[in-house]
């Protein structure tokens, strides 16, 4: 039984830029694998190669045992792709869009009609099927966007940041759909920069940064990488550029970075380190305006591994 997804030393360069630098990973049939990383990490380039939009500069990958280089049509037949953008026709109705994409996946006649009906049920838009997609909210469009990739019941589905820019209700609906599809045996490759989604959905998580996979494993395996370290988020009333170099020298601080005015520090023991952070701040006449101590999570792992916050 071949692996649902197998990626071997996949590389992609755009001129001087090495967007993907020898990525390897695999997913067993029926699992959810998340690619987690900040924007520009190489997630979208990786899945563009897997879905046949970009030719790899080197390496290969297979979908259900079919090489994307040597058997692209067979690989594509086993694959459903949910692009990050809403890739639909706004002047066609939801049903017309699904009809069209079903035909593009080779469905015809009664089978097509039945399957479109089923997919409309799955995405919860049966009552709006005759409305033009252009009139839908962002969340509804995202649901149709996903539905279009489900019509041919693919063995593997790739979802590229399917919850970007939508309301919480639609986001919840999409996450529940991913779980439902996975429970029906579909293998899901899910890219996101939301660690909560990766944590909730995934059997395995691959963390990407700068075109490389920096860590891969189950959620628990990844958390263990930080070795019981804690993250402390702090806000101060002076420029962060002044205080970060000072805090970097404090004993027990292993990583420190800032995003959106919040400074995040990975520390070995928050009870011991926190008073020293206050003391250092006082020497600089700085006042700490907020403190939050967080249990280790994927954000902590990413920061531990890359030295920067995932939210970047």
């Amino acid at each position: 039984m071949p692996k649902a997804i197998e990626v071997n030393n996949l590389k992609k360069s755009f001129g001087e830029l090495q967007a993907v630098q020898g990525v390897s990973f695999s997913a067993e049939a029926g699992e959810v694998l998340s690619l987690l990383g900040p924007n520009g990490a190489g997630k979208s380039t990786t899945i563009s190669m897997l879905s046949g939009l970009l030719a790899p500069s080197d390496g290969d990958a297979s979908i259900m045992g079919h090489s994307i280089s040597r058997e692209p049509l067979l690989a594509k037949s086993a694959l459903g792709v949910v692009p990050q953008d809403i890739a639909l026709y706004p002047d066609l109705s939801a049903r017309e869009n699904l009809d069209f994409w079903g035909k593009m996946y080779g469905l015809r006649g009664g089978a097509l009609k039945t399957r479109v009906g089923e997919v409309l049920e799955i995405i919860g838009l049966s009552d709006r099927q005759k409305d033009k997609v252009g009139t839908f909210s962002g969340g509804m469009k995202r649901r149709v966007n996903i539905g279009a990739a489900l019509l041919h019941k693919p063995k593997v589905i790739i979802m590229d940041e399917p919850t970007v820019g939508i309301d919480p209700q639609s986001r919840r609906h999409i996450l529940d759909n991913v779980k439902l599809l996975n429970s029906q045996g579909m293998t899901v490759l899910y890219t996101t920069h939301y660690m909560e989604e990766a944590e909730e959905l995934s059997n395995h998580i691959a963390i990407m940064d700068k075109g490389k996979i920096v860590a891969m494993g189950t959620y628990r395996e990844l958390i263990q990488l930080v070795g019981g370290q804690t993250r402390i988020d702090l806000s101060v009333n002076i420029e962060k550029e002044r205080i970060i170099p000072a805090w970097k020298t404090v004993e027990g601080v292993s990583q420190i970075d800032s995003t959106n005015g919040t400074i995040s520090a990975i520390v070995t023991d928050s009870n011991l380190v926190l008073p020293k952070l206050f003391e250092t701040a006082a020497k600089l006449n700085a006042r700490i305006t907020s403190v939050e101590i967080k249990e280790p999570n994927l954000e902590t792992v990413f920061m531990h591994l890359t030295g920067k916050a995932l939210r970047d």
Binding site: L53, P83, W101
Partner: protein, 395 residues
């Protein structure tokens, strides 16, 4: 099958847009009618007298030979006579109201009948084609008149009474002979009429607007390709098991279908409403229409691939329309332009489309005359298609 599904989707999107119907149906019909009216005023008033005007100065209208000659000229279908005094005739010539003045001198009839030297005088502008034509047109009846005189003189050598009946008889025989076709003319092509629209102004307006709006229709059809690329649906199509050439073919077929349907509609409109006789050679019309559709579709594909925004599609389509229409002879015949303009224009595919259609409509030629224009249009289609596919691979 998926190619046809993609084609059908494109056509659904295009025809659902109300603006498309304006561009594809209403505007070409209105413009055809408008241009036809414009050409009518210019060249083709069926009631207008197109004979060459000739002023005749005849001081002795009752003289026998004068009466005989002028009765022939007055009934001519090539010359329109105007009887004036010599001064008025010269003034009319100066004002270009007439193309020439025929002066019959005093005593002409008497002297000619007596066998003396008698000469008519034609005053015409040597540089004028009508003036030159007048000389040729007058030579025939005057020569016939003088030969009738000679015959009568021979006949009257023994009996002077024979002169009058013989000259009448000889003259009437000349008249009969001149109306009879003595030499059968066979030509590979029917002779072009002097009217460049072949008697119907819509023979220029209808095919001209047909070709022009086939190109203008790209504003709507090429937009689909740009929208597809911008909305990332083109990229999504590439993730399905469709091959790239199938995607290109599906879009090309949609553009071809649209152009062909528009052409067919304008052909039927021209035939039934404007009496433009496309159905005289239905296969020739069909062949040129198909070739035109293929060329325009491949041009649309190229524009759709090259343009990044909808506004660029409009801009490129307008440039293509004006360039190919103006230089390709869709607004006025290239023969009327002449010189370098016509030479350059004749290289363009739009000019070949016009040639193909006007071979049928104006020149009265057969199906075989459309093979070359259709073949060249087809070659242009292959060229533009190749460019479009080359650009598509780079997108």
């Amino acid at each position: 099958m998926r190619i046809f599904d993609l084609t059908l989707k494109d056509l659904t999107q295009i025809l659902r847009d109300k603006k498309s119907l304006l561009f594809l149906v209403a505007m070409p019909i209105v413009f055809t009618l408008f241009m036809g009216f414009a050409y009518r005023g210019n060249s083709s008033d069926e009631n207008a007298d197109t004979r060459i005007p000739l002023a005749v100065v005849d001081p002795e209208p009752e003289s026998r030979l004068n009466k005989m000659l002028l009765s022939r000229l007055d009934s001519s279908d090539t010359i329109r006579t105007v009887h004036l005094s010599e001064a008025d005739a010269i003034e009319s010539l100066r004002k270009s109201e007439v193309a020439g003045v025929l002066v019959i001198p005093v005593g002409f009839s008497e002297q000619a009948e007596a066998g003396k030297e008698a000469q008519l005088k034609l005053i015409a502008q040597a540089s004028s084609s009508e003036g030159q034509s007048l000389y040729q047109l007058l030579r025939v009846p005057i020569s016939q008149l003088m030969s009738a005189v000679e015959i009568a003189q021979i006949s009257a050598e023994n009996n002077a009474n024979e002169f009058a009946p013989t000259i009448e008889l000889a003259w009437s025989k000349w008249e009969v002979q001149s109306q009879r076709s003595l030499v059968r003319v066979e030509q590979a092509a029917a002779q072009e009429t002097s009217d460049w629209a072949g008697g119907n102004p819509y023979n220029q307006a209808s095919p001209g607007i047909l070709v022009q709006f086939a190109i203008f229709g790209l504003v709507t059809s090429a937009q689909i390709l740009v929208q597809e690329r911008k909305s990332r649906t083109l990229q999504r199509l590439m993730t399905t098991a469709m091959r790239p050439w199938e995607i290109v073919a599906g879009h090309l077929l949609a553009m071809f279908t649209l152009t062909f349907l528009q052409t067919a509609m304008l052909v039927i409109f021209g035939q039934l409403v404007l009496s433009v006789n496309y159905f005289r050679e239905p296969l020739g019309t069909l062949l040129v229409s198909v070739a035109l559709g293929l060329w325009v579709a491949s041009l649309g594909l190229l524009i759709g691939v090259v343009a990044k925004e909808e506004q660029q599609v409009i801009l490129f389509s307008m440039i293509a329309m004006f360039l190919f229409s103006a230089l390709g002879g869709t607004w006025f015949p290239l023969e009327a332009a002449g010189g370098a303009f016509a030479a350059i224009g004749k290289l363009l595919p739009s000019a070949w489309a016009m040639t193909g259609l006007q071979n049928i409509l104006i020149r009265g030629l057969s199906l075989s005359s459309t093979l070359l224009p259709a073949g060249i249009l087809f070659l242009y289609a292959v060229g533009f298609f190749g460019l479009a596919v080359w650009r598509f691979k780079k997108v």
